[in-house]
Symmetry: C2
Subunit: 338 residues, 2 copies
Amino acid sequence: MDNPTIKEIAIRAGVSKSTVSRIISGKGYSSPEARDKVLEVIEELQYKPNAVARAMVSQRTHNIGVLLYRQELPIASHPFYGKIVDAILLEAARLNYSVFVTTDRDMSYRSADFMMEKRVDGLILISRLQQNVIDYITNFGVPYVMVNGSTDVGGVIHIVNQDEAGGRMAAEHLTEIGHERIFVIAGPQPHRSHHSRLKGFRAFREEAGKPVGEASVRFAETSTFGEGYELMSRHYGPFRAGRHTAVFATNDMLALGAMKFLLEQGTRIPEQAAVVGFDDVDFAAMFSPSLTTVRVDTWEMGTGAVRLLDELIRHEPDVAHPGQLMPRLVVRQSTGAR
Amino acid sequence: MDNPTIKEIAIRAGVSKSTVSRIISGKGYSSPEARDKVLEVIEELQYKPNAVARAMVSQRTHNIGVLLYRQELPIASHPFYGKIVDAILLEAARLNYSVFVTTDRDMSYRSADFMMEKRVDGLILISRLQQNVIDYITNFGVPYVMVNGSTDVGGVIHIVNQDEAGGRMAAEHLTEIGHERIFVIAGPQPHRSHHSRLKGFRAFREEAGKPVGEASVRFAETSTFGEGYELMSRHYGPFRAGRHTAVFATNDMLALGAMKFLLEQGTRIPEQAAVVGFDDVDFAAMFSPSLTTVRVDTWEMGTGAVRLLDELIRHEPDVAHPGQLMPRLVVRQSTGAR
DNA sequence: CTGAAAGCGCTTACAG
DNA sequence: CTGAAAGCGCTTACAG
């Protein structure tokens, strides 16, 4: 039961393939009679145009690739990146693109090649990619947009959150509610976002006359829940000795992990220790107590990336660069809301 | 800077397109000299075969589509389905398939058509799909595998968890640690999994001589965290009045939501109320207290679906149906571990 | 061992 | 308004 082709339709409708094609595409003239007959046959045979053949001639696949660099699971279900992927999925569907989702554990060229061979119309790169991979893709001539990346290569179009401003928001909030000594858990500093968040946080505290002492900062190897828990447990002594009354972590997962450890020690949150994270992953609002955090607009990141890429693909003259996204503070139970 | 084609390679290497094609595919004869020269040119020009053209002639795209029926966000980042998607992504890459991820809010034919037009080699359907969509896809002749579905249509190959057995495990555990009166939060019963989990749970308790009374069961409209929280708060009176000492919910999100409400009321868990969920989403282990649950093997669901689909695509004579997956109990803090 | 030819399913000028 | 022809970039028999 092979799927019918345009040829089959043409024969049954008693016209040529050209005519069928014109009627389907709606461009070019066609007589009402021909149109009716062709449409009828299409309906009857449940004909679906073959997108592969179309792509072949039009040199447009209407496919975009999402390259997510992740060394470990989760990938698409990652609490933060997953939200960006979801936004991409929805916006892409709206603009009639299908999306390939790929990951690359070891940042080889493999996944890039995968996409290049499939001749995707464009690529969305999430998370930080190595410079050589970016060069490789650039060299291939496929349009791409980088989301939440950490490369500051000139010319690369990327959508990022204003992390430094976000770091300041976290500091401002904790300062306002009166915290003098804040313990800081900083994610991997090679990551632009973790670095900027820490920087903004420190800058605000500095300006407020309550600089973050070196003894109050701990650097995490990864940015996971487990790492946050581990790190808090390892440095629980200094944390208490320093009479800290709050914890700021450069992302929610670290904050949540640290918070779980504190709760297990019987620490009352926010009474004995307030906690602030960054990202606003779904779990932040669900945790008990719910986590105060700085919300990154993942929806805009994802949908904006798709719209931008679409413009790039269609060679729109003036691509509206979305600029940097402004995050916003979301106050919850971990710093005393409600 | 157009990408080179096989023709370009042929000209530069001084051979015919046929020869280049044979050398690339590795099938058919070719002289060492020709081979060296061609490979050299390929390397020099960074030639990548055009998968679209290949698909055109081979009638194989090496693409598979994942259709995830979700009315709302999250989609790929869904705590449970997202894990299946991740497993699919990894296994598909291993078997050299690219994967399209699509969702369909209103279960129209739109997303199915999308895939049909792209001529994917096969489809993986996640979550329950309407009968008519399945018929539609079947009619199109594309091989597909259903994962965690709730359709019991004959002939449909689907991979599911043994939910009834899992429900029994939850009941057995709570019974063993001595709970007499258990409050049950049951997810939407039209969903096969929620229905079976409840059924298994009840059966075990019945056999143990401690049947679940009707007054102890509450049915949820959805299976989300918010619904679990809401439902628990709405029925907190009866919960206490009935002197229940434990809660079983047919999935983790409902359990977690209920648990958050209980914690906010000052309930000590597990001392005053033990809680058991189902699925083992990542949050389950992270929550404080961590949630005892029945772990569904999402990794096997996803990877198994891909392997199965691959066999179907390649027309393997005897497709090894993976059968139903056995879940396992994971005991954590919410029922007293550690 | 190699090349010319046909064909995969479409679209797009170009004649008529 | 319509059809024949060429072509998108490959692969695959088929001659030689």
